[in-house]
Protein backbone atom coordinates (compact mmCIF):
# COMPACT_ATOMS: atom_id res chain seq x y z
CA UNK A 1 0.00 0.00 0.00
CA UNK A 2 1.19 3.46 -0.78
CA UNK A 3 2.74 5.14 2.21
CA UNK A 4 0.82 8.34 1.52
CA UNK A 5 -2.27 6.90 3.16
CA UNK A 6 -0.33 6.41 6.35
CA UNK A 7 1.02 9.93 6.06
CA UNK A 8 -2.55 11.13 5.87
CA UNK A 9 -3.33 9.23 9.07
CA UNK A 10 -0.34 10.88 10.73
CA UNK A 11 -1.66 14.20 9.53
CA UNK A 12 -5.06 13.46 11.02
CA UNK A 13 -3.30 12.49 14.25
CA UNK A 14 -1.58 15.86 14.39
CA UNK A 15 -4.85 17.66 13.74
CA UNK A 16 -6.48 15.73 16.56
CA UNK A 17 -3.62 16.74 18.86
CA UNK A 18 -4.14 20.39 17.97
CA UNK A 19 -7.90 20.40 18.34
CA UNK A 20 -7.58 18.28 21.47
CA UNK A 21 -5.19 20.76 23.09
CA UNK A 22 -7.46 23.61 22.10
CA UNK A 23 -10.45 21.92 23.74
CA UNK A 24 -8.41 20.98 26.80
CA UNK A 25 -8.04 24.68 27.49
CA UNK A 26 -11.73 25.18 28.30
CA UNK A 27 -13.27 23.44 31.30
CA UNK A 28 -16.50 22.70 29.46
CA UNK A 29 -14.88 20.92 26.53
CA UNK A 30 -11.71 19.63 28.21
CA UNK A 31 -12.84 16.05 28.54
CA UNK A 32 -13.75 15.76 24.89
CA UNK A 33 -10.43 17.39 24.04
CA UNK A 34 -8.56 14.75 25.98
CA UNK A 35 -10.43 12.01 24.18
CA UNK A 36 -9.70 13.60 20.81
CA UNK A 37 -5.99 13.77 21.58
CA UNK A 38 -6.14 10.12 22.71
CA UNK A 39 -7.82 9.18 19.43
CA UNK A 40 -5.10 11.01 17.54
CA UNK A 41 -2.52 9.04 19.47
CA UNK A 42 -4.31 5.77 18.78
CA UNK A 43 -4.45 6.18 15.02
CA UNK A 44 -0.88 7.46 14.90
CA UNK A 45 0.44 4.45 16.78
CA UNK A 46 -1.49 2.06 14.55
CA UNK A 47 -0.23 3.83 11.45
CA UNK A 48 3.34 3.56 12.68
CA UNK A 49 2.97 -0.20 13.14
CA UNK A 50 1.78 -0.78 9.60
CA UNK A 51 3.59 2.01 7.79
CA UNK A 52 5.22 0.51 4.66
CA UNK A 53 8.91 0.22 5.45
CA UNK A 54 11.75 -1.20 3.45
CA UNK A 55 13.57 -3.91 5.34
CA UNK A 56 10.98 -4.17 8.09
CA UNK A 57 11.52 -7.27 10.15
CA UNK A 58 8.02 -7.25 11.54
CA UNK A 59 8.58 -8.41 15.11
CA UNK A 60 4.93 -7.61 15.72
CA UNK A 61 4.78 -9.92 18.69
CA UNK A 62 7.34 -7.83 20.53
CA UNK A 63 5.45 -4.68 19.66
CA UNK A 64 2.01 -5.86 20.70
CA UNK A 65 3.29 -7.55 23.85
CA UNK A 66 5.04 -4.35 24.90
CA UNK A 67 1.98 -2.27 24.14
CA UNK A 68 -0.25 -4.63 26.03
CA UNK A 69 1.91 -4.59 29.14
CA UNK A 70 2.34 -0.82 29.05
CA UNK A 71 -1.38 -0.25 28.53
CA UNK A 72 -2.33 -2.43 31.48
CA UNK A 73 0.21 -0.80 33.80
CA UNK A 74 -0.80 2.69 32.75
CA UNK A 75 -4.50 1.97 32.98
CA UNK A 76 -4.36 0.39 36.42
CA UNK A 77 -2.12 3.09 37.81
CA UNK A 78 -4.41 5.79 36.51
CA UNK A 79 -7.56 4.17 37.81
CA UNK A 80 -6.24 3.19 41.22
CA UNK A 81 -4.47 6.37 42.21
CA UNK A 82 -5.95 8.61 44.89
CA UNK A 83 -7.20 11.95 43.63
CA UNK A 84 -4.67 13.80 45.68
CA UNK A 85 -1.80 11.68 44.39
CA UNK A 86 -2.46 12.50 40.77
CA UNK A 87 0.29 15.09 40.31
CA UNK A 88 2.89 12.54 41.39
CA UNK A 89 1.53 10.05 38.92
CA UNK A 90 1.67 12.53 36.07
CA UNK A 91 5.28 13.16 36.98
CA UNK A 92 6.02 9.44 36.99
CA UNK A 93 4.41 8.99 33.58
CA UNK A 94 6.41 11.89 32.26
CA UNK A 95 9.58 10.24 33.52
CA UNK A 96 8.66 7.06 31.65
CA UNK A 97 8.25 9.03 28.44
CA UNK A 98 11.71 10.49 28.98
CA UNK A 99 13.10 7.00 29.65
CA UNK A 100 11.55 5.76 26.41
CA UNK A 101 13.42 8.47 24.51
CA UNK A 102 16.64 7.52 26.31
CA UNK A 103 16.23 3.89 25.31
CA UNK A 104 15.59 4.79 21.67
CA UNK A 105 18.59 7.05 21.42
CA UNK A 106 20.85 4.51 23.14
CA UNK A 107 19.88 1.82 20.66
CA UNK A 108 20.50 4.17 17.76
CA UNK A 109 23.88 5.14 19.15
CA UNK A 110 24.91 1.55 19.74
CA UNK A 111 23.86 0.77 16.17
CA UNK A 112 26.01 3.63 14.94
CA UNK A 113 28.96 2.50 17.00
CA UNK A 114 28.71 -0.98 15.49
CA UNK A 115 28.62 0.70 12.10
CA UNK A 116 25.21 -0.74 11.34
CA UNK A 117 23.60 2.61 10.62
CA UNK A 118 25.84 5.27 9.09
CA UNK A 119 25.05 8.77 10.30
CA UNK A 120 25.69 12.38 9.38
CA UNK A 121 26.97 14.83 11.96
CA UNK A 122 23.56 16.51 12.15
CA UNK A 123 21.83 13.20 12.78
CA UNK A 124 24.33 12.22 15.42
CA UNK A 125 23.93 15.59 17.15
CA UNK A 126 20.17 15.17 17.15
CA UNK A 127 20.37 11.72 18.71
CA UNK A 128 22.80 12.87 21.37
CA UNK A 129 20.51 15.77 22.20
CA UNK A 130 17.63 13.33 22.53
CA UNK A 131 19.71 11.32 24.96
CA UNK A 132 20.57 14.41 26.99
CA UNK A 133 17.11 15.93 27.23
CA UNK A 134 15.42 12.57 27.71
CA UNK A 135 17.72 11.69 30.60
CA UNK A 136 17.07 14.98 32.34
CA UNK A 137 13.32 14.53 31.91
CA UNK A 138 13.62 10.99 33.24
CA UNK A 139 15.52 11.50 36.49
CA UNK A 140 14.08 14.97 37.03
CA UNK A 141 10.56 13.58 36.90
CA UNK A 142 11.47 10.79 39.29
CA UNK A 143 12.78 13.30 41.81
CA UNK A 144 9.66 15.42 41.43
CA UNK A 145 7.55 12.32 41.96
CA UNK A 146 9.52 11.36 45.08
CA UNK A 147 9.20 14.82 46.55
CA UNK A 148 5.48 15.07 45.93
CA UNK A 149 4.99 11.61 47.30
CA UNK A 150 6.81 12.55 50.47
CA UNK A 151 9.58 10.01 49.81
CA UNK A 152 12.29 12.59 49.51
CA UNK A 153 12.92 15.49 51.85
CA UNK A 154 13.18 18.93 50.39
CA UNK A 155 16.87 19.28 51.12
CA UNK A 156 17.97 15.77 50.13
CA UNK A 157 20.34 15.22 47.22
CA UNK A 158 21.09 18.92 46.90
CA UNK A 159 24.64 19.50 45.61
CA UNK A 160 26.82 22.25 47.09
CA UNK A 161 26.28 25.63 45.37
CA UNK A 162 23.41 24.17 43.37
CA UNK A 163 23.09 26.99 40.82
CA UNK A 164 26.75 26.95 39.85
CA UNK A 165 26.94 23.16 40.02
CA UNK A 166 24.00 22.78 37.66
CA UNK A 167 25.23 25.41 35.30
CA UNK A 168 28.50 23.51 35.08
CA UNK A 169 26.80 20.18 34.42
CA UNK A 170 24.65 21.73 31.72
CA UNK A 171 27.65 23.27 29.98
CA UNK A 172 29.67 20.06 30.19
CA UNK A 173 26.90 17.91 28.76
CA UNK A 174 26.20 20.35 25.94
CA UNK A 175 29.91 20.46 25.27
CA UNK A 176 30.03 16.68 25.07
CA UNK A 177 27.18 16.62 22.59
CA UNK A 178 28.90 19.13 20.33
CA UNK A 179 32.25 17.39 20.69
CA UNK A 180 30.88 13.97 19.73
CA UNK A 181 28.74 15.35 16.92
CA UNK A 182 31.70 17.18 15.38
CA UNK A 183 33.83 14.06 15.69
CA UNK A 184 31.10 12.27 13.81
CA UNK A 185 31.88 9.04 15.57
CA UNK A 186 30.36 7.34 18.57
CA UNK A 187 32.58 6.00 21.29
CA UNK A 188 30.94 3.89 23.96
CA UNK A 189 32.92 5.63 26.66
CA UNK A 190 31.95 9.16 25.79
CA UNK A 191 28.39 8.09 25.32
CA UNK A 192 28.38 6.54 28.79
CA UNK A 193 29.80 9.69 30.31
CA UNK A 194 27.18 11.85 28.61
CA UNK A 195 24.44 9.55 29.83
CA UNK A 196 25.72 9.58 33.39
CA UNK A 197 26.10 13.35 33.53
CA UNK A 198 22.66 13.91 32.04
CA UNK A 199 21.04 11.58 34.55
CA UNK A 200 22.81 13.33 37.42
CA UNK A 201 21.86 16.71 36.04
CA UNK A 202 18.19 15.71 36.06
CA UNK A 203 18.52 14.93 39.78
CA UNK A 204 20.41 18.03 40.80
CA UNK A 205 18.27 20.27 38.63
CA UNK A 206 15.14 19.34 40.54
CA UNK A 207 16.44 18.53 44.02
CA UNK A 208 17.08 22.11 45.18
CA UNK A 209 13.57 23.18 44.24
CA UNK A 210 10.98 23.09 47.00
CA UNK A 211 8.39 20.31 46.98
CA UNK A 212 5.61 22.85 46.70
CA UNK A 213 6.95 24.06 43.38
CA UNK A 214 6.86 20.62 41.84
CA UNK A 215 3.77 21.26 39.67
CA UNK A 216 5.72 23.96 37.86
CA UNK A 217 8.73 21.67 37.54
CA UNK A 218 6.62 18.83 36.16
CA UNK A 219 5.19 21.13 33.55
CA UNK A 220 8.69 22.20 32.58
CA UNK A 221 9.96 18.62 32.40
CA UNK A 222 6.92 17.76 30.37
CA UNK A 223 7.92 20.29 27.75
CA UNK A 224 11.36 18.65 27.79
CA UNK A 225 9.78 15.29 27.01
CA UNK A 226 7.90 16.97 24.18
CA UNK A 227 11.19 18.26 22.87
CA UNK A 228 12.73 14.79 22.92
CA UNK A 229 9.75 13.41 21.03
CA UNK A 230 10.28 16.11 18.41
CA UNK A 231 14.00 15.34 18.19
CA UNK A 232 13.25 11.64 17.83
CA UNK A 233 10.78 12.60 15.11
CA UNK A 234 13.62 14.33 13.28
CA UNK A 235 15.72 11.18 13.49
CA UNK A 236 12.98 9.03 12.03
CA UNK A 237 11.63 11.79 9.71
CA UNK A 238 8.32 11.07 11.36
CA UNK A 239 5.86 13.96 11.13
CA UNK A 240 3.55 13.00 13.94
CA UNK A 241 6.38 12.63 16.45
CA UNK A 242 7.92 15.87 15.25
CA UNK A 243 4.77 17.97 15.30
CA UNK A 244 3.23 16.37 18.37
CA UNK A 245 6.48 16.87 20.23
CA UNK A 246 6.81 20.49 19.16
CA UNK A 247 3.24 21.23 20.20
CA UNK A 248 3.81 19.76 23.65
CA UNK A 249 7.16 21.50 23.92
CA UNK A 250 5.81 24.94 23.22
CA UNK A 251 2.50 24.61 25.02
CA UNK A 252 4.28 23.07 28.01
CA UNK A 253 6.65 26.01 28.13
CA UNK A 254 3.91 28.60 28.07
CA UNK A 255 1.92 26.61 30.62
CA UNK A 256 4.92 26.63 32.94
CA UNK A 257 5.14 30.38 32.63
CA UNK A 258 1.42 30.77 33.28
CA UNK A 259 1.67 28.63 36.42
CA UNK A 260 4.44 30.85 37.72
CA UNK A 261 2.43 33.96 36.93
CA UNK A 262 -0.53 32.61 38.89
CA UNK A 263 1.76 32.56 41.93
CA UNK A 264 3.12 35.99 41.09
CA UNK A 265 6.65 34.64 40.57
CA UNK A 266 9.04 34.24 37.67
CA UNK A 267 10.22 30.90 36.31
CA UNK A 268 13.79 31.83 37.16
CA UNK A 269 12.75 32.53 40.73
CA UNK A 270 11.15 29.10 40.97
CA UNK A 271 14.19 27.28 39.60
CA UNK A 272 16.83 29.16 41.55
CA UNK A 273 14.93 30.70 44.42
CA UNK A 274 14.71 28.67 47.56
CA UNK A 275 11.78 30.14 49.40
CA UNK A 276 9.67 27.29 48.18
CA UNK A 277 12.01 24.94 49.98
CA UNK A 278 12.09 26.73 53.27
CA UNK A 279 8.39 27.60 53.51
CA UNK A 280 6.19 25.51 55.72
CA UNK A 281 9.06 24.09 57.69
CA UNK A 282 10.66 27.37 58.78
CA UNK A 283 10.48 28.28 62.44
CA UNK A 284 8.57 31.51 62.58
CA UNK A 285 6.34 31.42 65.67
CA UNK A 286 4.54 34.63 66.50
CA UNK A 287 7.46 36.83 65.52
CA UNK A 288 5.85 40.05 66.57
CA UNK A 289 6.05 39.72 70.30
CA UNK A 290 3.55 42.43 71.09
CA UNK A 291 0.74 41.05 69.00
CA UNK A 292 -1.39 38.32 70.43
CA UNK A 293 -3.54 35.88 68.52
CA UNK A 294 -6.84 35.18 70.28
CA UNK A 295 -8.10 31.64 70.69
CA UNK A 296 -11.67 30.48 70.86
CA UNK A 297 -13.18 27.33 72.34
CA UNK A 298 -14.92 24.90 70.01
CA UNK A 299 -18.23 25.43 71.82
CA UNK A 300 -18.11 29.19 71.44
CA UNK A 301 -17.17 28.77 67.81
CA UNK A 302 -20.08 26.38 67.27
CA UNK A 303 -22.52 28.88 68.74
CA UNK A 304 -21.11 31.66 66.61
CA UNK A 305 -21.59 29.56 63.48
CA UNK A 306 -25.02 28.25 64.31
CA UNK A 307 -26.40 31.73 64.85
CA UNK A 308 -24.88 33.39 61.83
CA UNK A 309 -26.79 33.66 58.59
CA UNK A 310 -23.96 33.38 56.09
CA UNK A 311 -20.69 31.45 56.35
CA UNK A 312 -17.86 31.28 53.82
CA UNK A 313 -15.31 28.47 54.03
CA UNK A 314 -11.81 29.19 52.70
CA UNK A 315 -9.93 25.93 52.12
CA UNK A 316 -6.15 25.86 51.72
CA UNK A 317 -3.24 23.48 51.64
CA UNK A 318 -3.94 22.41 55.23
CA UNK A 319 -7.26 20.92 54.12
CA UNK A 320 -5.34 18.63 51.79
CA UNK A 321 -2.75 17.75 54.42
CA UNK A 322 -5.39 16.91 57.00
CA UNK A 323 -7.61 15.21 54.38
CA UNK A 324 -10.40 17.17 56.00
CA UNK A 325 -12.67 17.51 52.98
CA UNK A 326 -15.24 15.04 54.30
CA UNK A 327 -15.35 16.64 57.75
CA UNK A 328 -15.71 20.00 56.05
CA UNK A 329 -18.64 18.79 54.02
CA UNK A 330 -20.31 17.33 57.13
CA UNK A 331 -20.12 20.63 58.97
CA UNK A 332 -21.45 22.35 55.88
CA UNK A 333 -24.43 19.97 55.79
CA UNK A 334 -25.20 20.50 59.46
CA UNK A 335 -25.06 24.28 59.16
CA UNK A 336 -27.09 24.29 55.96
CA UNK A 337 -29.72 22.16 57.69
CA UNK A 338 -29.91 24.85 60.34
CA UNK A 339 -30.62 27.47 57.68
CA UNK A 340 -27.14 28.94 57.48
CA UNK A 341 -26.05 29.95 53.99
CA UNK A 342 -22.71 28.15 53.45
CA UNK A 343 -20.42 28.65 50.46
CA UNK A 344 -16.77 28.10 49.58
CA UNK A 345 -14.22 30.65 48.40
CA UNK A 346 -11.63 29.05 46.12
CA UNK A 347 -8.44 31.01 45.58
CA UNK A 348 -6.80 30.10 42.24
CA UNK A 349 -3.52 29.01 43.84
CA UNK A 350 -4.81 27.61 47.11
CA UNK A 351 -3.17 24.26 47.81
CA UNK A 352 -0.22 23.01 45.85
CA UNK A 353 -1.53 22.60 42.36
CA UNK A 354 -4.04 24.55 40.30
CA UNK A 355 -7.52 23.21 40.92
CA UNK A 356 -6.33 21.35 44.04
CA UNK A 357 -9.24 22.58 46.16
CA UNK A 358 -11.76 21.98 43.39
CA UNK A 359 -10.57 18.41 43.16
CA UNK A 360 -10.83 17.77 46.90
CA UNK A 361 -14.25 19.33 47.25
CA UNK A 362 -15.58 17.57 44.17
CA UNK A 363 -14.48 14.32 45.76
CA UNK A 364 -17.05 14.85 48.53
CA UNK A 365 -19.66 16.17 46.09
CA UNK A 366 -19.80 19.77 47.12
CA UNK A 367 -22.20 21.22 44.51
CA UNK A 368 -20.72 23.54 41.93
CA UNK A 369 -23.06 26.40 42.88
CA UNK A 370 -21.49 26.62 46.33
CA UNK A 371 -18.05 27.42 44.93
CA UNK A 372 -17.06 31.04 44.40
CA UNK A 373 -13.98 32.15 42.52
CA UNK A 374 -11.73 34.94 43.74
CA UNK A 375 -13.79 37.75 42.31
CA UNK A 376 -17.19 36.45 43.35
CA UNK A 377 -15.87 35.74 46.82
CA UNK A 378 -14.41 39.20 47.28
CA UNK A 379 -17.74 40.67 46.28
CA UNK A 380 -19.57 38.45 48.77
CA UNK A 381 -17.18 38.70 51.73
CA UNK A 382 -18.22 42.16 53.00
CA UNK A 383 -21.73 40.75 53.52
CA UNK A 384 -20.56 37.55 55.16
CA UNK A 385 -21.01 36.94 58.90
CA UNK A 386 -18.30 34.35 59.55
CA UNK A 387 -15.38 33.10 57.51
CA UNK A 388 -13.80 29.72 58.36
CA UNK A 389 -10.23 29.49 57.10
CA UNK A 390 -9.40 25.77 56.90
CA UNK A 391 -5.63 25.42 56.58
CA UNK A 392 -5.18 28.34 54.23
CA UNK A 393 -2.57 30.97 54.92
CA UNK A 394 -0.87 32.82 52.07
CA UNK A 395 -4.04 33.18 50.06
CA UNK A 396 -5.67 35.16 52.88
CA UNK A 397 -2.61 37.17 53.89
CA UNK A 398 -3.53 40.87 53.87
CA UNK A 399 0.11 41.91 53.66
CA UNK A 400 -0.02 40.90 49.97
CA UNK A 401 -2.12 44.02 49.51
CA UNK A 402 0.03 46.45 51.43
CA UNK A 403 3.51 45.24 52.35
CA UNK A 404 5.71 45.92 49.31
CA UNK A 405 8.59 44.01 50.90
CA UNK A 406 6.62 40.78 51.20
CA UNK A 407 7.46 38.02 48.71
CA UNK A 408 3.76 37.64 47.97
CA UNK A 409 3.19 41.37 47.50
CA UNK A 410 0.87 41.94 44.57
CA UNK A 411 -0.76 38.52 44.60
CA UNK A 412 -4.54 38.98 44.63
CA UNK A 413 -5.90 37.54 47.88
CA UNK A 414 -9.25 36.71 49.45
CA UNK A 415 -10.18 39.71 51.58
CA UNK A 416 -11.52 37.73 54.51
CA UNK A 417 -10.83 40.61 56.88
CA UNK A 418 -13.82 42.36 55.32
CA UNK A 419 -16.21 39.77 56.73
CA UNK A 420 -17.77 40.00 60.18
CA UNK A 421 -15.67 37.40 62.02
CA UNK A 422 -12.83 35.12 60.95
CA UNK A 423 -12.09 31.65 62.39
CA UNK A 424 -8.69 30.24 61.42
CA UNK A 425 -7.91 26.53 61.73
CA UNK A 426 -4.25 25.55 61.73
CA UNK A 427 -1.92 23.62 63.96
CA UNK A 428 0.47 26.34 65.05
CA UNK A 429 1.59 29.87 64.30
CA UNK A 430 3.98 28.65 61.63
CA UNK A 431 3.86 30.44 58.29
CA UNK A 432 2.62 28.85 55.05
CA UNK A 433 4.26 28.14 51.74
CA UNK A 434 5.78 31.56 51.19
CA UNK A 435 7.28 31.57 54.67
CA UNK A 436 5.87 34.92 55.72
CA UNK A 437 3.98 35.88 58.83
CA UNK A 438 0.28 36.60 58.43
CA UNK A 439 -1.13 39.71 60.18
CA UNK A 440 -4.61 38.29 59.70
CA UNK A 441 -4.04 36.05 62.70
CA UNK A 442 -3.64 39.10 64.93
CA UNK A 443 -6.57 40.97 63.43
CA UNK A 444 -9.24 42.04 65.88
CA UNK A 445 -11.90 40.09 63.97
CA UNK A 446 -9.85 36.86 64.00
CA UNK A 447 -9.96 33.92 66.39
CA UNK A 448 -7.68 30.89 66.10
CA UNK A 449 -8.77 27.27 66.44
CA UNK A 450 -5.49 25.39 66.83
CA UNK A 451 -5.16 21.74 65.92
CA UNK A 452 -5.37 19.42 62.97
CA UNK A 453 -8.05 20.70 60.62
CA UNK A 454 -9.93 17.41 60.37
CA UNK A 455 -10.09 16.97 64.11
CA UNK A 456 -11.10 20.57 64.69
CA UNK A 457 -13.87 20.35 62.13
CA UNK A 458 -15.19 17.13 63.66
CA UNK A 459 -15.22 18.65 67.12
CA UNK A 460 -16.98 21.71 65.81
CA UNK A 461 -19.60 19.48 64.23
CA UNK A 462 -20.14 17.66 67.51
CA UNK A 463 -20.38 20.90 69.41
CA UNK A 464 -22.88 22.25 66.92
CA UNK A 465 -25.05 19.14 67.10
CA UNK A 466 -24.95 18.82 70.85
CA UNK A 467 -24.40 22.19 72.29
CA UNK A 468 -26.74 24.49 70.53
Amino acid sequence: MNSIWFDIIYFAGVLLFIVGLQRLGHPASARRGNLMAAAGMGISILASIFYPMEGSHGNYLWIFAGMGIGAVIGWLAAKRVQMTAMPQLVSLFNGLGGACAVVISLVQLIGAEQGATPMSQAELGTILLTLLVGSVAFTGSLIAWAKLDGRLKDNALVPPFPTIFNMALLLISLGLVIFMAVQGEVSMMWMGILLAISLVYGVTFVSPIGGADMPVVISLLNSFTGLTAALAGLIYSNQVMLMGGILVGSSGTILTVLMCQAMNRSLWNVIVGSFGASGGSGGGAASDGEQVAKELSKTDAAILLAYSSSVVIVPGYGLAVAQAQRACRDLDNELTARGVDVSYAIHPVAGRMPGHMNVLLAEVDVPYEKLMDLEQANNALPNTDVVIVVGANDVVNPSARTDTSSPIYGMPILNVDEAGKVLVMKRSMRPGYAGVQNPLFFHKKTHMLFGDAKKTLQELLEATKVGV
Binding site: I18, L24, K79, I104, S219, S250, G252, Y368
Partner: protein, 102 residues
Protein backbone atom coordinates in the same frame (compact mmCIF):
# COMPACT_ATOMS: atom_id res chain seq x y z
CA UNK B 1 28.30 26.91 6.27
CA UNK B 2 27.84 25.14 2.97
CA UNK B 3 26.13 22.30 4.79
CA UNK B 4 23.95 24.70 6.71
CA UNK B 5 22.75 26.42 3.54
CA UNK B 6 22.01 23.05 2.02
CA UNK B 7 20.11 22.03 5.10
CA UNK B 8 17.98 25.16 4.94
CA UNK B 9 17.31 24.71 1.26
CA UNK B 10 16.19 21.14 1.70
CA UNK B 11 14.07 21.76 4.76
CA UNK B 12 12.52 25.16 4.22
CA UNK B 13 8.95 23.90 4.44
CA UNK B 14 9.75 21.85 7.50
CA UNK B 15 11.14 24.95 9.15
CA UNK B 16 7.92 26.77 8.32
CA UNK B 17 5.73 24.07 9.75
CA UNK B 18 7.82 23.62 12.90
CA UNK B 19 7.81 27.36 13.53
CA UNK B 20 4.07 27.53 13.01
CA UNK B 21 3.62 24.61 15.39
CA UNK B 22 5.63 26.46 18.05
CA UNK B 23 3.45 29.56 17.68
CA UNK B 24 0.34 27.43 17.65
CA UNK B 25 1.32 25.68 20.87
CA UNK B 26 1.82 29.06 22.51
CA UNK B 27 -1.42 30.55 21.25
CA UNK B 28 -3.51 27.51 22.12
CA UNK B 29 -2.50 27.67 25.76
CA UNK B 30 -1.89 31.34 26.33
CA UNK B 31 -5.31 32.13 27.78
CA UNK B 32 -6.49 29.10 29.70
CA UNK B 33 -8.04 29.53 33.17
CA UNK B 34 -5.93 28.51 36.19
CA UNK B 35 -8.23 25.72 37.24
CA UNK B 36 -7.49 23.80 34.03
CA UNK B 37 -3.69 23.95 34.40
CA UNK B 38 -3.21 20.53 35.99
CA UNK B 39 -5.37 18.50 33.57
CA UNK B 40 -3.84 20.40 30.69
CA UNK B 41 -0.37 19.51 31.88
CA UNK B 42 -1.43 15.92 32.25
CA UNK B 43 -2.97 15.81 28.78
CA UNK B 44 0.09 17.38 27.20
CA UNK B 45 2.20 14.82 29.02
CA UNK B 46 0.17 12.04 27.48
CA UNK B 47 0.69 13.53 24.03
CA UNK B 48 4.44 13.65 24.59
CA UNK B 49 4.21 9.87 24.87
CA UNK B 50 4.10 9.95 21.06
CA UNK B 51 7.77 9.13 21.41
CA UNK B 52 6.59 5.51 21.65
CA UNK B 53 6.37 5.54 17.86
CA UNK B 54 10.15 5.74 17.82
CA UNK B 55 10.36 2.56 19.86
CA UNK B 56 7.90 0.81 17.56
CA UNK B 57 9.85 1.76 14.45
CA UNK B 58 13.00 0.64 16.22
CA UNK B 59 11.63 -2.84 16.84
CA UNK B 60 10.48 -3.09 13.25
CA UNK B 61 13.97 -2.22 12.01
CA UNK B 62 15.74 -4.71 14.25
CA UNK B 63 16.66 -8.16 12.84
CA UNK B 64 14.43 -10.75 14.46
CA UNK B 65 17.33 -12.57 16.09
CA UNK B 66 19.01 -9.57 17.69
CA UNK B 67 17.46 -10.20 21.05
CA UNK B 68 19.39 -7.57 22.96
CA UNK B 69 18.14 -4.81 20.69
CA UNK B 70 14.66 -6.24 20.64
CA UNK B 71 14.59 -6.25 24.42
CA UNK B 72 15.62 -2.62 24.43
CA UNK B 73 12.88 -1.74 21.97
CA UNK B 74 10.41 -3.81 23.95
CA UNK B 75 11.30 -1.85 27.08
CA UNK B 76 10.85 1.40 25.14
CA UNK B 77 7.39 0.36 23.98
CA UNK B 78 6.34 -0.56 27.51
CA UNK B 79 7.59 2.74 28.92
CA UNK B 80 5.99 4.77 26.14
CA UNK B 81 2.69 2.93 26.26
CA UNK B 82 2.44 3.35 30.02
CA UNK B 83 2.92 7.06 29.56
CA UNK B 84 0.32 7.25 26.79
CA UNK B 85 -2.45 5.12 28.27
CA UNK B 86 -1.86 6.16 31.86
CA UNK B 87 -1.58 9.81 30.85
CA UNK B 88 -4.85 9.98 28.95
CA UNK B 89 -6.65 7.89 31.57
CA UNK B 90 -5.55 10.02 34.50
CA UNK B 91 -6.41 13.19 32.63
CA UNK B 92 -9.84 11.80 31.97
CA UNK B 93 -10.29 11.06 35.65
CA UNK B 94 -9.27 14.59 36.59
CA UNK B 95 -11.69 16.02 34.08
CA UNK B 96 -14.55 13.84 35.19
CA UNK B 97 -14.75 16.09 38.19
CA UNK B 98 -15.18 19.18 36.09
CA UNK B 99 -18.02 17.59 34.27
CA UNK B 100 -19.83 16.63 37.42
CA UNK B 101 -20.10 20.26 38.33
CA UNK B 102 -21.97 21.36 35.25
Amino acid sequence: MEAFVHFLQDNLLMIYSVTFAVFLGFELISKVPTVIHTPLMSGANAISGVVIIGAILLIRQTPSDDYAMLAFGFLGVILGMTNVVGGFAVTDRMLEMFKKKK
